[in-house]
């Protein structure tokens, strides 16, 4: 019923507007079309300049309202991200000045040079000096922005520092899997054909590779503060994207083509709770490349903590290999024979 009412009201509004529009057309014919045209010209000239003034006030108000909700008041959570923030401020400055000048000129000229009786436009087809001026000035500013940008770009996409903590992150519909290289610092080889869900080998890790035996698989990503982190990024099914807005980082996860990203977190999760004034703050990994129906809920968590806390957490993790083959685990009680058999049966078909 409510919907019908709304539809009826909308149709009424349309009809009223339409009738007014029709009537105004008749009125204009009666009054003399030229006279009406001149009147509406004045009205629209006035509206254009009003739009400029109200618009600029709106830009200011919008900034007052929404700037506090952006990521910038809390600062970048990574050292590298600070460069991006600086670049952003410089770009906003340069483009902001251009924006103001051009928009003000556009609407001011429109208002100032609106049609007046007896006035004639100025024949001004070209002026080489002016044209050269506004070719070279933008070119110079852009060159500065490009150089500045490329310096940052090559630094960020360059090799990660040697001491970086290595972490692997793999996307699949619709979650992230995290893998740590364990004590040897090397991630075990993978082959997607070894994927086996019942056994728990959802990443297709090749356990024939000795380097894989001490690898850890986790659901949360932990990392120590103030130490570079290198992420090796992959995907099992479709393209995903590791989006880390607080660190100003982002990289696609492409099936078949591993990618990397590195950065240096500079605030722990606890520190960020204070900086953002949000006790519920968490570093979230968002999937930034549409990947299917639950794309919007493909959420991961990063915990940045002190080196001590991180090591403690790391020590508490059990290598994935032992989780899958509990009988091989020296620290665990022997599993009941039944489960072992089932597990082996599940793994066998994919063993070469």
């Amino acid at each position: 019923m409510k919907e019908l009412l709304i539809i009826a009201i909308v149709i009424m509004v349309f009809l009223v507007i339409f009738q007014i529009a029709k009537a105004s057309e008749y009125v204009s014919v009666l009054k003399g079309e030229d006279k009406t045209r001149k009147q509406t010209n004045k009205i629209n000239g006035f509206l254009l300049i009003s739009f400029l003034i109200l618009g600029l006030i709106g830009v200011y108000v919008c900034n007052e309202w929404f700037y506090p909700k952006t990521l910038f008041p809390a600062g970048s959570a990574s050292v590298e991200g600070e460069k991006i923030d600086l670049m952003l401020y410089i770009t906003i400055g340069v483009t902001g000045v251009v924006f103001l000048i051009t928009q003000i000129l556009l609407f001011w000229f429109s208002f100032r040079y609106q049609e007046k009786d007896g006035k004639k436009a100025f024949f001004f087809p070209h002026n080489t000096k002016l044209e050269l001026l506004w070719t070279t000035v933008p070119a110079i500013f852009l060159t500065v922005l490009v150089v500045f940008g490329l310096v940052n770009w090559f630094k960020m996409t360059g090799e990660a520092p040697k001491n970086a903590t290595l972490i692997e992150i793999t996307g699949h519909q619709f979650a992230w899997d995290i893998r740590y290289p364990g004590k040897d610092g090397v991630l075990g080889k993978k082959n997607y054909r070894l994927y086996n869900k019942p056994s728990g080998n959802t990443l297709g890790v090749d356990f024939q590779d000795p380097a894989s035996l001490d690898d850890l698989k986790t659901t949360e990503m932990h990392m120590p503060v103030n130490k570079p982190v290198k992420l090796v990024i992959g995907a099992m099914d479709v393209i995903h994207d590791v989006g880390l807005p607080h660190f100003r980082m982002k990289m696609d996860a492409v099936p078949g083509i591993p990618t990397t990203m590195w950065f240096t977190p500079q605030y722990t999760t606890e520190q960020m709770k204070v900086r953002t004034g949000n006790v519920n703050f968490r570093y979230e990994i968002s999937c930034d490349q549409v990947c299917g129906k639950s794309h919007f809920s493909m959420r991961g968590i990063i915990v940045v903590e002190t080196e001590g806390e991180y090591n403690k957490w790391l020590d508490a993790q059990k290598p994935d290999y032992y989780a899958m083959y509990p009988d091989k685990d020296p620290t665990a009680k022997p599993a009941t024979p039944d489960t072992t058999k089932k597990l082996i049966a599940a793994i066998l078909p994919v063993k070469k």
Binding site: F109, A121, P125, F154, M236, G256, D288, G292
Partner: protein, 604 residues
């Protein structure tokens, strides 16, 4: 759809005088209104089909904005309309992604490519260069009917059980290649690809025709440098399309192979829905290269016609010559060339080689230079003019404003290091909607308001036109300006719901506001559609041949020109099209292109 068009056309031309200059062969209803080879009729067919598509595409955005604006609410009437897609009155995620994908596909290709350049290239090229029709009227007709077939296939994909394509308008594989990865990647995706293939055929037939016509069929005296900027823009648009659409076609066909014939062009190392796929050695990134090799020129295919028409309209209504004609042509040319060399800026975060990325940054930001030239030239055109605010003029001014606003944010996104942060956030949505979507729509509206009297021999209602303009420009800024802030907060695009995210859930109120404005702006577009169709029959009649006091040749044709455009000889051109602010012999402030140069004048 065809019945709608034919009905319109029938009544339209029912009152048309028999001003057929050359063509006295017998025409039936079918040859005149359905399978017409008259470029003006074909243009109107493109326009009306484009309007229908724009209504559908716009409506889709209103529906998915309901979800974004009111994620907690249910709308039982949605279930009545869409059944299980909106179970319990709540838009389902699959439906949301299908709507988003179709909104993008429809507006980018079917409205702003076919509806914009299909309409105005067809309508204006012969009229403004002084030709009786296109080089090949037959291919021109086929161009429309391929577009029509593409439309039918795309519409039909909306009605299949598993729904239309839903992997975004960019249809990146593997998501789009694997039916197991998404409902929309089942039969809906095949239909999408087939429809696009037909669309590309249409675009190529049209584009080749436009190029040939511009190069070969100009009237006596119409040298290339005497062409109106509209024609230059349509010409470069056609060149862009002809050179880049085939690449998308190859991508689409390879994707069809991967989907149906077991090839591995884009697939490698995939486990989907628990199944280990045999495909190895393909590259998902390859598709992105093929897609964006068209995809980037595509945004200029959309934008250039709007630029050309705005240039013309700004000059006519400022009563001043366009400032820096040669610089305007040169910058169009520069944009055309650069448009082919920047595609990978959509791929900065795909793991692209950083050195390659660096080159693309340089080339991308280079495009800002010709763009800046155009903006300053438009501003100087207004300076010391005697400006008439016709609805077309307001839309052209709005176009410049939006082009500035959206163009400047391109400088952020083209700079790869900044793009890392802003990529695939609402900042991108704000950027391309302003600069490509709304700006081009403003160019389209400007064109419709300006050339409507030539198309139909009637005027649109001015009051409705002014309401349409003001609601649309205010609404467009209210919708897209705040989205920049959402993007600066890292809010990802193509999210169905943000409420579970600690990082993004604080924009609930803003999202609701944006949705509300979107509905109002959509309603204003309905006013335009009503005005458009009503005025065809009931609009004020045009009584003078040249209602805007313009210089170009289309205003030398009869008020309702027949097939062949001019009665008798095609006029000869003696001057450039921008002789405004000059005293003519009969005391007017403009001299039309077909007026011989007087003894006291300089030659152009």
């Amino acid at each position: 759809m065809s019945t709608v068009i034919t009905a319109n056309e029938a009544i339209l031309h029912g009152v048309q005088g028999d001003s057929h200059a050359e063509h006295h062969h017998k025409e039936t209803f079918i040859t005149k209104y359905v399978f017409s080879q008259d470029h003006k009729t074909i243009a109107k067919q493109f326009l009306v089909t484009g309007i229908i598509w724009a209504f559908i595409g716009g409506l889709f955005s209103v529906i998915f904005r309901l979800q974004l604006g009111y994620p907690e609410s249910t709308f039982p009437w949605l279930e009545d309309l869409f059944g299980h897609w909106a179970k319990g009155g709540k838009i389902q995620p699959e439906f949301y992604y299908a709507l988003v994908t179709m909104h993008g596909t429809i507006l980018v290709f079917f409205v702003l490519t076919a509806g914009l350049s299909g309409t105005f290239s067809n309508f204006l090229i012969p009229l403004q260069i002084g030709a009786r029709d296109m080089a090949s009227p037959l291919l021109n007709m086929l161009s429309y009917w391929f577009f029509f077939m593409a439309s039918v296939v795309m519409i039909s994909s909306l009605f299949v059980q598993t729904g239309p394509a839903s992997g975004g308008w960019t249809v990146y594989p593997p998501l789009s290649a694997l039916g197991d990865a998404s409902m929309g990647s089942k039969i809906g995706m095949d239909l999408w690809l087939v429809s696009m293939a037909l669309f590309i055929v249409s675009s190529l037939l049209g584009g080749l025709n436009y190029i040939t016509t511009v190069l070969n069929m100009r009237t006596k005296g119409m040298s290339m440098t005497r062409m109106p900027l509209t024609i230059w823009a349509f010409f470069f648009t056609a060149v862009l399309g002809v050179l880049s659409f085939p690449v998308l076609l190859s991508g689409a066909i390879l994707l069809l192979f991967d989907r149906n014939l077991g090839t591995s062009f884009f697939l490698s190392d995939i486990v989907v829905a628990g199944k280990i796929l045999p495909n190895e050695g393909g590259s998902a990134i390859l598709f992105q290269h093929l897609f964006w090799f068209l995809g980037h020129p595509e945004v200029y295919i959309i934008l250039l016609p709007a630029m050309g028409m705005s240039s013309e309209i700004l000059s006519v209504n400022s009563r001043k010559p366009i400032f820096g004609y040669m610089a305007m042509v040169g910058s169009l040319f520069a944009i055309t060339v650069l448009a082919f060399l920047v595609w990978a800026h959509h791929m900065f975060v795909t793991g692209l080689n950083p050195y390659l990325g660096g080159i693309f940054v340089l080339l991308t930001l280079l495009i800002a230079v010709p763009s800046a030239i155009k903006v300053f030239n438009w501003l100087t055109t207004l300076w010391r003019g005697n400006i008439r605010f016709t609805p077309a003029m307001l839309f052209a001014i709005g176009f410049v404003s939006l082009f500035i606003s959206g163009g400047l944010t391109g400088i952020f996104l083209g700079n790869s290091a900044l793009d890392i942060h802003l990529h695939d956030t609402y900042f991108v949505i704000a950027h391309f909607h302003i600069v490509m979507g709304v700006a081009s729509f403003f160019g389209l509206f400007a064109g419709v308001y300006h050339w409507y009297p030539k198309m139909f021999g009637t005027y649109l209602n001015n009051t409705l036109a002014y309401i349409h303009f003001w609601v649309t420009i205010v609404g467009a800024y209210l919708i897209f300006w705040p989205m920049h802030y959402e993007g600066l907060a890292g809010m990802p695009r193509r999210y169905y719901d943000f409420s579970t995210w600690e990082s993004f859930k604080m924009f609930g109120g803003l999202n609701e506001f944006i949705s509300l404005i979107a509905m109002i702006v959509f309603a204003a577009q309905l006013l335009f559609i009503i005005n458009f169709f009503y005025s065809i029959w009931k609009g004020r009649k045009v009584t003078t041949m040249n209602p805007w006091d313009a210089n170009t040749l289309e205003w030398t044709t009869p008020i309702r020109p027949g097939h062949g455009n001019w009665v008798g000889e095609i006029p000869e051109v003696h001057r450039w099209p921008y002789d405004y602010a000059k005293e003519s012999k009969d005391g007017k402030d403009f001299i039309m292109q077909n007026v011989p140069v007087g003894d006291d004048e300089e030659k152009h």
